[in-house]
């Protein structure tokens, strides 16, 4: 218990860590390093193993294999109360029999500190709850309880702060506010934050580094923009925002890869293709909906040369305010999503209209065709606020609500996928 006082710093290092419950493997053996002082997000649908991973760092779950290091220290066998790590629980888990002051002071008192008044006072100020010190948790609103939970963990100056879906119970507006608040606190105190969430927008807004988890594995790890622009799997492409994935056949490789899809040719940069692409092979060509420009078929001649283009017919359009979202069916694929900024709206772009979709080839990415093309699509709706991740993107068409029903659908989906 004495070691918790010494702030040694260092990274969180998970080595070959895994967790099985009987025959069910919640977390596949994984290696993960969270750099000191970073805001790290574990992102994935329910049941993907992200919370289990977090709980293994906290010590609330014993790993089946592997080790947990904090800096140079192996803490794998330390019980949670001996680890310099604190958790903000999903349901906050505030002690109902203690007032806010005592809740926040709990950790300090357990470590034998006698005068906690000053520290608790400062912490109450940090989370702007100075006047609530003698209230009981149930007298506070959800947002206030959430801040108490953060304060109760932070006051111990943990080496790592673990956040288990801390904003899940808050309404959308409050969630946005708390996202910024948490980010501010993290910058202020400089402690490593490991944040578990199923909300891809939340992960992107807050984290420096995001690890996308699926089926107990880390699918891809990187900065939010990196993950969004360069997804390496269909799951990441679909789970983070929305992607149009078009099955294609490789026609030529080199610095620029040429593929055929739906009778037309598409080009994409060679470095954005999986290494194994060779002529005659199959490839999934991806393009984000907001990167596509939509022109009426009558204006096809005005589309500049050198742009990727495919034809189709609008089957659905929804006006979102900032943008209009179109669904287009064409020879290359059905259900293609296009988001157009509402700057100058073309009145001819209504369902039934023949259109040309065109975009800069540099924005195209290629994915290995041996994957489930739909992986991560249903989880996306469970991700709360929808797919409004990229610039100009808003909620996906027909997915304007993110109710609990969809969360369940997402959870089921997650268990189905391998």
């Amino acid at each position: 218990m004495t070691t918790t006082d010494t702030y040694t710093g260092g990274d969180v290092r998970l080595t070959g860590i895994s967790k099985s419950y009987g025959s069910f493997t919640a977390v596949q053996p994984l290696d993960l390093t969270v750099p000191q002082g970073s805001f790290f997000a574990l992102l994935g649908a329910s049941g993907c193993g992200k919370t289990t991973t977090l709980r293994m760092i906290a010590g609330l779950e014993d790993p089946t294999t592997g080790t947990v290091h904090l800096g140079d220290r192996d803490v794998t066998d330390l019980p949670p109360y001996k680890r310099p790590v604190n958790t903000v629980f999903q349901s906050y888990a505030l002690f109902p029999h203690l007032d806010i002051f005592e809740n926040i002071a709990f950790g300090l008192r357990r470590r034998g500190l006698k005068s906690v008044k000053k520290q608790v006072g400062e912490m109450l100020e940090l989370v702007q709850l100075g006047d609530k010190a003698r209230h009981r948790p149930h007298q506070l609103s959800g947002g206030q309880q959430q801040r108490v939970a953060v304060a109760r963990a932070l006051i111990n100056h943990p080496q790592v702060l673990l956040l288990d879906e801390p904003l899940g119970a808050l309404d959308l507006k409050l969630r946005r506010q708390m996202q910024l608040e948490l980010k501010r606190i993290q910058t202020e105190v400089g402690i490593t934050f490991v944040h578990v969430t199923h909300d891809q927008e939340e992960a992107m807004t807050m984290a420096d580094t995001v690890a996308v988890m699926n089926g107990g594995r880390v699918e891809q790890l990187g900065a939010p923009a990196e993950l969004y622009e360069h997804p390496r799997t269909t799951f990441v492409a679909n789970f983070l925002g929305t992607s149009n994935l078009i099955p294609a056949e490789v026609a030529g490789t080199g610095s620029e890869v040429v593929v055929t899809a739906g009778g037309g040719k598409l080009r994409l940069p060679g470095e954005r293709c999986p290494a194994g692409a060779r002529p005659g092979g199959r490839l999934l060509v991806g393009i984000r909906p907001e990167k596509i420009t939509l022109s009426h078929a009558d204006d096809a001649g005005a589309v500049p040369d050198g742009r990727n283009r495919i034809t189709g017919r609008i089957t659905d359009s929804s006006f979102i305010g900032v943008s209009t979202q179109y669904t287009v069916d064409g020879p290359a694929g059905t259900g293609l999503q296009v988001y157009e900024q509402n700057i100058e709206r073309d009145p001819r772009l209504v369902p039934g209209a023949e259109v040309v979709l065109h975009w800069n080839p540099a924005h195209t990415f290629g994915l290995d065709a041996d994957q489930d093309i739909a992986a991560g699509t249903e989880q996306e709706t469970a991700a709360g606020a929808g797919s409004g991740a990229g610039p100009g993107a808003a909620t996906g068409p027909g997915r304007n609500t993110a109710g609990p029903g969809q969360d369940i659908a997402g959870a089921e989906r997650a268990e189905d996928s391998p």
Binding site: T87, H97, G107
Partner: protein, 307 residues
């Protein structure tokens, strides 16, 4: 809009008011059976007993209300040892119930897993047999030549209880220990069930939060689990102590003349001596003492906002 707003209250002032009025009465209608029950089976007998307690006379000549309050004083001065004994036995039995019941309730609530329901059924199972039969069974269990007594003697437990004045020589039956054992056994489920209910209600994540915040398992129990189970401790001790202090069956069957509790005195005054005023006065004194103790206890426990 304005036209409507002006018109509606003037046109029909009565109906909108009548409906809520009827609705307001609904709770009282729902309460009626309970209130009637309380009136007939609690309030009326209480008044009747109160009047009996201030009567004088004899069975042959009949009793009359003479406001003879001296009965209370006489009854108390004559039987105070039985009062003290009742409270001591009931208190000891309650403490033993708590010590035995808490670990079991904790086990059922947190560790029993799929055995939980089975154990709960086992806790309640003795109720399927008559109270009297179960108490009589303890006569056999604690008989002089029983294995239990022999074991207690061999383990030198009887030396300790002898020293405490709970037993005499190598006998258990007809001693205070036997009465306390009977009380403890008979009222244990009333302790376990409320304890279990309040423990079971505790969110497991609170334990995790405590462990996460540097509390060892022992500290977690002391600072989180036990305080949160206080409502169960309070209701469990009340449900045990109150009936135990008025009990007479255990003392009658397992005790001797030296272990008479106030319940035995009241019973014999009512049914054998036929001195109804004294019996009624004793009942009221017991009620007053228990009520006072319970009030102080609940105040001290300070769990009003948790219950």
């Amino acid at each position: 809009m304005t036209l409507l707003a002006e018109k509606s209250p003037a046109a029909e002032p009565a109906p909108p008011r009548r409906a809520p009025a009827r609705r307001r009465l609904v709770p009282y209608w729902l309460l009626l059976p309970g209130i009637l029950w309380l009136l007939v089976f609690f309030a009326l007998p209480l008044v009747y007993q109160a009047s009996t307690s201030v009567q004088t006379g004899s069975l042959e000549q009949g009793f009359r209300v003479t406001w003879h309050f001296a009965t209370y004083w006489d009854a108390f001065t004559e039987y105070w040892p039985q009062f003290v004994r009742s409270l001591l036995y009931a208190g000891t039995a309650t403490l033993l119930c708590l010590l035995l019941g808490y670990p079991l309730a904790y086990l059922i609530a947190f560790r029993a897993g799929r055995w939980r329901n089975l154990i709960l059924v086992l806790v309640i199972a003795p109720f399927f047999t008559s109270f009297l039969i179960r108490t009589l069974a303890w006569k056999t269990i604690l008989a002089d030549d029983s294995a239990v007594v022999a074991a207690l003697d061999a383990l030198k437990v009887l030396d300790v209880t002898n020293w405490l004045g709970l037993t005499e020589g190598d006998r258990v039956l007809a001693t205070p220990l036997a009465v306390v054992c009977g009380l403890t056994y008979n009222f244990l489920p009333f302790m376990i069930l409320p304890l279990y209910t309040s423990l079971e209600r505790i969110d497991g994540r609170l334990h995790e939060a405590a462990r996460d915040l540097y509390a060892s398992p022992a500290t977690t129990f002391r600072k989180v689990t036990f305080p949160l189970s206080l409502p169960g401790v309070v209701s469990g001790t009340l449900l045990t102590f109150i009936p135990a202090s008025g009990d007479y069956v255990n003392a009658e069957l397992l005790g001797s003349t030296d272990t008479k509790m106030i319940g035995n005195v009241i019973q014999s005054q009512f049914l054998r001596v036929l001195d109804y005023p004294t019996a009624a006065a004793l009942s009221f004194i017991l009620m007053a003492i228990v009520l006072a103790m319970v009030t102080v206890y609940i105040r001290r426990a300070g769990t009003e906002d948790l219950v």
